[in-house]
């Protein structure tokens, strides 16, 4: 019943649309001339990748669709219920209404970049054949052509200037691992649409965009999710799961900390590539600058430059980045330096320093929270404990020198502040003995009163019996 009604209504709508288009056909055709269609770029656009690519049939394994963008399809009706021409999609939206719905959510709609800008064709035609002919009709662009197609506008400095958008993405892309693979003829290498969406292209600062910071891991994970999934062959291992389990992924996705890095912060976005072994400390040093400066003064730095394996990722992991606990220090160094060696002894000493300070702080914190529940004044102690914690935090970057003399001042400061706080709070807690003295005094007077009352009672009994 409902299906009948919708079909009836949609047919009616189509009829009206067709009639309107018929009557205003001439006017509509006039307006095409002012639309941005003429500078649709197909033949003129630079497409070196396309020309060098093998003319294979496009039988590529594509990544699964992004979960962000739902599919709007209407299996019941040939012409969808919401079909209508709009200013930007013109008559294309009548048949391709599911695409129009997606397109309307994107940024290109508001900039009046219509269907024909990328696909060509005649947007005002009312027959399929006529619509799919027209000026430079391209249909669905080949994957190999997509970067150049997008680049035809986005590489145009003058055109991008008002939006303050960079115009070097296409050039960067061609140097990237994705661009080089595409040039080699690997047709499932990522092109613009794989990361930015096909029709629903949202700006990067839109939270629903596939390239919004918190969506980037999922977007990259469509190909680089790994773990032996044949649809995601791009990367060995499981970088997406590792990233989510690591401290960066947790901070960004669970803690909503937008300062935490996503994939592109280490790998680049348009010029994406794997950082070389000698560059890892530079990549990490973008954010962890102080740590890197300590690392540069350590003997590990030379080993990195000589091509050895002692970069950041050896201890902290690459995708599954972890913080190394004070108690796990020696174990981590153990993987290269055995405990008997001089290097192993240094590791042991640093761990002892860190663990001692950390334990001392924990002890002081426990006492302060006990005092807070009584409640006593603890604001001062809490402030000093914060100092101790800061000192311990300062010790962490210093450990990258693997030099005990650089670590020791920080841990000593943390330890001594915490110990002082512990001692003072202990004194304060022990100073509450007077309460028990007060209680004892109270009971003393209570028993005294009771004794007097009992004496009265005895006398009263004696008197009443004697009188009786």
């Amino acid at each position: 019943m409902t299906a009948w009604r919708t079909m009836g209504r949609s047919a009616f709508a189509t009829a009206i649309v067709a009639a309107l288009a018929w009557t205003h056909g001439a006017h509509a055709q006039d307006s095409t001339k002012t639309a941005p269609a003429p500078d649709a770029p197909a033949p003129a656009a630079p497409s070196p990748a396309a020309t060098s690519a093998t003319p294979v049939a496009e039988k590529v394994v594509l990544p699964p669709p992004s979960p962000l963008h739902e599919r709007a399809s209407h299996p019941l009706a040939a012409v969808p219920t919401d079909s209508k021409p709009t200013k930007t999609t013109r008559m294309c939206g009548v048949c391709h209404s599911d695409i129009r719905v997606k397109f309307d959510k994107g940024i290109h709609k508001s900039e009046e970049i219509g269907c024909i800008s990328c696909h060509g064709g005649n947007p005002d035609a009312i027959t399929i054949a006529e619509a799919h002919r027209g000026s430079g009709y391209r249909g669905r662009p080949r994957r190999a052509d997509i970067p150049a197609l997008c680049g035809s506008c986005h590489s145009d400095v003058a055109r991008m200037r008002p939006y303050q958008l960079p115009s070097d993405q296409f050039a960067l892309y061609r140097t990237s691992a994705h661009g080089l693979a595409l040039a080699r003829g690997t047709m499932n290498a990522a092109v613009c649409t794989d990361c930015h969406g096909v029709h629903e292209i949202r700006p990067a600062d839109d939270p629903l965009s596939m390239v919004a910071r918190h969506n980037v891991p999922t977007t990259c994970g469509r190909c680089h999710g790994g773990n032996g999934d044949p649809a995601r062959p791009a990367t060995p291992g499981s970088p997406l799961a590792d990233y989510k389990a690591g401290i960066h992924g947790h901070a960004l996705l669970v803690g909503n900390n937008n300062a935490a890095p996503e994939c592109a912060n280490c790998h680049g976005s348009h010029a994406t590539a794997q950082p070389g072994a000698r560059d890892v400390d530079k990549v990490c040093g973008q954010c962890h600058g102080k740590v890197r400066s300590f690392f540069m003064s350590s003997p590990h730095r030379g080993a990195v430059r000589r091509g050895g394996h002692s970069d950041c990722a050896v201890c902290h992991g690459n995708h599954k980045t972890t913080r190394i606990a004070a108690t796990a220090f020696e174990k981590t160094c153990d993987s290269c330096h055995k405990p008997g060696t001089p290097e192993g002894a240094v590791a042991g000493r640093i761990q002892t320093m860190l663990a001692d300070a950390s334990a001392q702080i924990d002890r002081a914190r426990e006492r302060v929270s006990r005092a807070e529940k009584i409640p006593l004044y603890v604001e001062d102690y809490q402030a000093r404990l914060e100092d101790a914690r800061t000192a311990l935090m300062e010790a962490a970057p210093a450990t990258h020198t693997v030099d005990t003399t650089a670590v020791e001042p920080h841990t000593r400061r943390a330890r001594s502040i915490a110990a002082e706080v512990s001692r003072e709070v202990d004194e304060k807690l022990k100073g509450r003995w007077w309460r028990y003295v007060g209680l004892g005094l109270f009971w003393f007077y209570l028993i005294l009163t009771a004794a007097i009352l009992l004496r009265w009672r005895r006398r009263a009994i004696a008197r009443s019996t004697s009188v009786r």
Partner: protein
Amino acid sequence: MSDAPRDTQTPPPDSRSWLERRVNLTEIASLLTVFGLLPAELDTRKPLREALGEALSQPMSYYERWPRLLGLLAFVLFLLLGATGILLAFYYQPTADAAYPSVVAIARDVSFGSLVHQVHAWASILFLFLLAFRVIRFFSIGLYGRGREIIWMVGVLAFVVATFTDLTGRLLPWDARGYWTTIRAREVIDALPLIGPIVTFLVGGKGLDSLILTRFYVLHIGGFPFVLLILFYLHFASIRRVGVPLPLDAAQKPRVGRALRIAGIDMILLVLLMLGVLLTFAIIVPIPFDVQADPFATPPNAHAPWYLLAPHAVLEAVPGLLPRFVRGLLLDGLLAGFLFLPFLDRSPGTGARNRAFLAAGLALLVIWVLLTWQGWFLEVSR
């Protein structure tokens, strides 16, 4: 009679003190009787000294002493709660922003503030237990029979109002435990048909905000204590009219014991002992402070108060057995049945009562304790 020699002399009219010639001190002292602190009536026409001496010399049956002492202790606790409550109210500020800091200031900065606060908290616990124990005792020996209906109903109502006072008091510190206890309690009360909507209407909403805190404060320091005072008065007034109950064994005559003077000393001793225990608890086992309430962070073990754990278990556990509404009606019915028990159980006499009722009551008590246990774990497993 066996009066002391000095009491037999009728004082000359001018022997009354300056004050007593202007104010009837005996009448004022008879308030002790009115609120059950003195189990004998004072003759308000006589001067205080004489009337007291007369009353204290009256003999008192042994049986008479024990049942009145629970009420007496409860009323002494009520007075103590009032006194400590007034001291706390000097510093307390009933707004959501200022409540917690003001309570911390009371416990930390004010001289003996912590002690007063702890005594108030422990006294409220003891007060509730005494009232509950009293109702259980009345039930177990059938002290709700003909003529004692008012005493029974007022006893039950006093316990209910005391729980309300306790509940409103728990919110006042605006700490996490008190806040979430109140939230849980509101959940239980709101689920009761008839009672829930009335309470929600009276309090003015289901949320807990600064306005509700103010209302709870007013109810805690003004509304409920006033109702309790009236109930106490009614209770003792009815006892004075009906008289103390006869011993359980009808054949056993009430033994006439010592004069009230001696029984009075026993009462004072008992009150002193209670105060000592209270102070010991307040100092040795202080109730610890919790962090300030955060409406957006439920602590892991938020419990309803102990007297609402069993209703909570009835409402929440074994889902699907009965609709929630029916279970709420059941709880309502239970409360109403308990309140109007004297009119349900019409078996004669005040002593040994209908055994079926006694057995049912005992079973109910056991079930209640088990449900309370379950209610506690219901919260823990949440």
